[in-house]
């Protein structure tokens, strides 16, 4: 038997028990779980993903510490075996054990589950994580050769492993070593017109189809450099008998250093990084309800306990905000001021959709109000259309929840309740209810009815205007989804699409701009982006692009979204404030309002900016401006943010 074979035999006999234990944990226990599971799903990937690095550390330290201690080390040094050969055999046998113990369970899961995974895709873990495990193992091996005390070496190695995981989040120059970046890159390859870009290729070391782009190879290179550096350091340490005297000091500083790195990562992931240009104080007990602006003028809607709803005109100058006097609006409770529109040349005249109850009846009829904010007391003129009564309304009237009876208006039959909405374009105002009424706005304060057309909203009801929402909320896998829009005379298909998906469409969890539709699921945590692929006369086809699920840190420090806006490729999400009934949930114990901004012009949404204001309870009135600035209303202040520093 050659010397190398003898060394291999010895190492294998020493380390195989670790392989057996690891296979029991990563294959045996999930197998037991699969037998008890109703659908017999074998699920090893979460454990492999979370504990893989730890196994690398344990094996790395375990293979070295036994032979590099006291008399046994002297014995080995007296043998006619080169130190390099001895260390190399140890290194590669240990590495083989780590990779086998972690890859075999993933292969079994891929084969058994046939793609029905509920957690992270095991093929992605198998494609990229072995490099992290190799690097972690290399670091642990080197630490054990240098420190020679197993417990200390393990602590230092775990600290180094955490740095390897977290430091790339904190340091942009080494972001290519971020595991989530490289896995996302393969999960959501960039597309153009529904086709994956040609820079993507199939990973050669994987028997299953996983794509990569050349940039991702930097991750492989980086991890291999760490592993090789670990091996070189270990060789030098054993050859020259280098030792680090480990003690309290080393352990304290290592753990402390890791805590600092993790803290910095948290700060970068969830901390405030949006520049505030201006902050205006609001009067006591005054709260912003909504802000709308075209970039130069706008209206702020506020609520005060004594006066109720009030409007304030707004001028957005390059130097900052200028607010007009607060104006009370008569009968504002019957108006949907948040759905109001105005013409660019008359920004202070609002056309507000609304509804009113019919006397002695619980039914409602749509109204259109013209609110003139140019005078000291806002003037309102309301046009009403009692003929547009709708069936099945459930609305709040005078503080009481009432359910109306189904009235017999066969021509207005609706499967769902809706909000009337308005769309203004080119001196024309389109009032969309069950009928479309077109007004001429040549005299802005005196809208003249031009035509009344019956419009067909089928096959989908008005409020939930798109089938995509249903697909996304159901969680069903889909590639494309359709959005239907009504046939409105005088408007192009894109304008008609905006009537159902635009900012005035009254949608709750969906925002559409620049051909991108972003939706937030019912729990308010997960974002899905879809890109407009095909626009016909009556429908738009969207292709699903990417999904964003919050990281553990973001989940812990965040809370479900409350209000959303989208513009210039950025999706703004203000996070819901804590509620008394939320106290059971740790993440909602954290006080203060927060805002997260996602970039949605790439293949998948990714968080890029954050703002937290612990002295505010909630943010309302998200209004991104065309020049990249952002208006945001809080409970105590109105904020004007500068354009994001980088995208």
């Amino acid at each position: 038997m050659s010397r190398t074979k003898a060394l291999l035999w010895k190492e294998w006999h020493e380390v195989r028990v670790l392989l057996a234990i690891a296979l029991f944990v990563f294959v045996g226990l999930p197998m037991v779980g699969a037998m008890e599971d109703r659908v017999h799903r074998f699920s090893a990937s979460p454990w492999v993903f979370l504990l893989g690095g730890l196994l690398g550390v344990l094996v790395g330290v375990g293979t070295v510490s036994r032979d590099l201690n006291g008399r046994l080390e002297d014995f080995w040094r007296s043998r006619p075996v080169g130190v390099a050969r001895w260390v190399l055999v140890k290194y590669f046998i240990g590495l083989g054990v780590v990779l086998a113990a972690l890859c075999i369970p993933l292969v079994i899961e891929i084969v058994l589950n046939q793609g029905s995974n509920v957690w992270t895709n095991p093929t992605l873990i198998l494609a990229w994580n072995p490099f992290v495990w190799t690097a972690g193992y290399g670091v642990a091996f080197a630490a054990a050769c240098l420190i020679r005390r197993p417990a200390h070496a393990a602590v230092i190695s775990i600290a180094a492993l955490l740095v390897l995981y977290f430091l790339p989040y904190a340091l942009p120059p080494i972001q290519f070593m971020e595991l989530s970046w490289v896995m996302d890159g393969s999960e959501f390859p960039r597309e153009s017109f529904g086709h994956v870009l040609s820079i993507y290729h199939r990973i050669p070391w994987m028997p299953w189809r996983v794509l990569y782009e050349p940039r991702q190879l930097l991750f492989v290179l980086g991890m291999l450099v760490v592993a090789v550096a670990g091996l070189a350091l270990a060789l030098a340490a054993v050859k020259r008998d280098w030792r680090i005297e480990s003690g309290q000091k080393l352990i304290y500083w290592s753990i402390g250093g890791v805590i600092l790195v993790v803290l910095s990562t948290i700060a970068l992931q969830v901390g405030t990084n949006l520049p505030i240009l201006q902050r205006l104080d609001l009067p006591e007990n005054c709260e912003v309800e909504s802000i709308q602006s075209d970039g130069s003028h706008g209206v702020i809607l506020t609520w005060t306990d004594k006066v109720g709803q009030r409007c304030q005109t707004l001028r957005v100058a390059p130097t900052g905000l200028e607010l007009g006097p607060p104006l009370a609006v008569e009968n504002s409770r019957y108006m949907n001021l948040q759905g109001a529109v105005s013409l660019p040349e008359h920004p202070n005249i609002l056309y507000v959709p609304g509804d009113r109850p019919i006397a002695d009846s619980k039914a409602l009829y749509p109204t259109l109000s013209v609110v003139n904010l140019n005078v000291a007391e806002a003037q309102t003129e309301t046009l009403s259309f009692p003929g547009d009564k709708s069936a099945l309304w459930v609305r709040k009237i005078d503080g009481e929840w009432v359910e109306t009876e189904t009235l017999s208006f066969p021509e207005d039959k609706s499967e769902d309740f809706y909000l009337p909405r308005v769309y203004a374009w080119n001196n024309r105002l389109y009032f969309l209810g069950i009928n479309c009424r077109t007004f001429d706005l040549s005299e802005p304060l005196k809208p003249r009815l031009v035509s009344t057309d019956q419009i067909t909203w089928q096959p989908l009801p008005l409020r939930r205007a798109n089938v995509l929402s249903f697909l996304i909320e159901s969680g069903a896998p889909f590639e494309t989804g359709m959005v239907y829009f009504p046939d409105i005379p005088g408007l192009s298909p894109r304008q008609r699409l905006e009537t159902v998906l635009g900012p005035k469409a009254g949608l709750i969890n969906e925002r559409f701009s620049d051909d991108t539709l972003t939706t937030v699921d019912a729990s308010g945590d997960r974002l899905t982006t879809c890109r407009l692929e095909l626009l016909t006369d009556h429908s738009a086809t969207f292709r699903r692009l990417g999904v964003y699920t919050p990281t553990s840190l973001e989940w812990f420090y965040g809370s479900p979204g409350q209000e959303f806006a989208q513009r210039n490729g950025l999706f703004y999400e203000s996070l819901r404030p804590s509620q008394p009934w939320d106290t059971w949930d740790t993440r909602r114990q954290l006080d203060g309002a927060r805002l997260t901004v996602f970039s949605v012009d790439g293949p998948r949404p990714r968080p890029v900016f954050h703002f937290a204001a612990p002295d505010e309870r909630s943010f309302r009135g998200l209004c991104p401006l065309p020049d990249g600035r952002l208006l945001l209303g809080g409970e105590h202040h109105i904020y004007l943010f500068g354009p994001p520093p980088r995208k």
């Binding site: 000091k249 402390g256 805590i259 600092l260 803290l263 700060a267 901390g271 203060g592 937290a612 612990p614």
Partner: protein, 233 residues
Amino acid sequence: MQGLLWKEWHEQRWKLAFGSLMLAAFAFVGLRARVIADDSLLRYVCGIAVLLLPLLSSTALVAAERSDGTLGSLLALPVQAWRVLVAKTVMGVALCAGPIVLTAMVSFAVSGGREMPAGAMAGMFARTLLAALSLFFWMFALSVRLPNETRAALVAVGVLVGWLIVSLGLYSAGARGTEPSLLWVTNPFFLFFMGRDGQSSVLAIAICMQAIIALALWLWAVRQFAKPQEGRS
């Protein structure tokens, strides 16, 4: 005396630097990130300080000397034993106070007056300092005879857990800062948890009571420290 202080400083300064850096960095990162309210974040920071700093400082002063076998040499010097203990106590107090003072300065610089009034912030750090010092004297006195750091750490953790259980028991029994019992005002955690809700007169009584207890514990520690170790020749 100066020589003794110099020795302690040289042995323990890295712990002072470690505690100061970690606590101040935690406060700095948290206050800059503004993920949670300043008041909540500083409560976390002060909680960490109260729980960890007395533990870090009390275990390393006497027990480490015993386990290293250097205490005998120290006591053989022509210096009275109580002077050695004074030097160690001064260093222990510095290990508790240094990080808290530095963190308070960092917190004032980053967020002073932003959300919390300066007085409230100063009060919070002052109460934290007092609670940490009170716990330090308990841990220091009870671990002064122990032969190594591990045992000292176990005793210190025992002190910590014991007072926490007492606090929880009293709190769940309905005792509040405004109507404190004798057990409450002698509890180191009273200063930290309840002090901010309590009346200033009650707080003053608690501080006086705990100062007396700390002095008594220290005198007891001096007596124990000077005694020869049993079972040794």
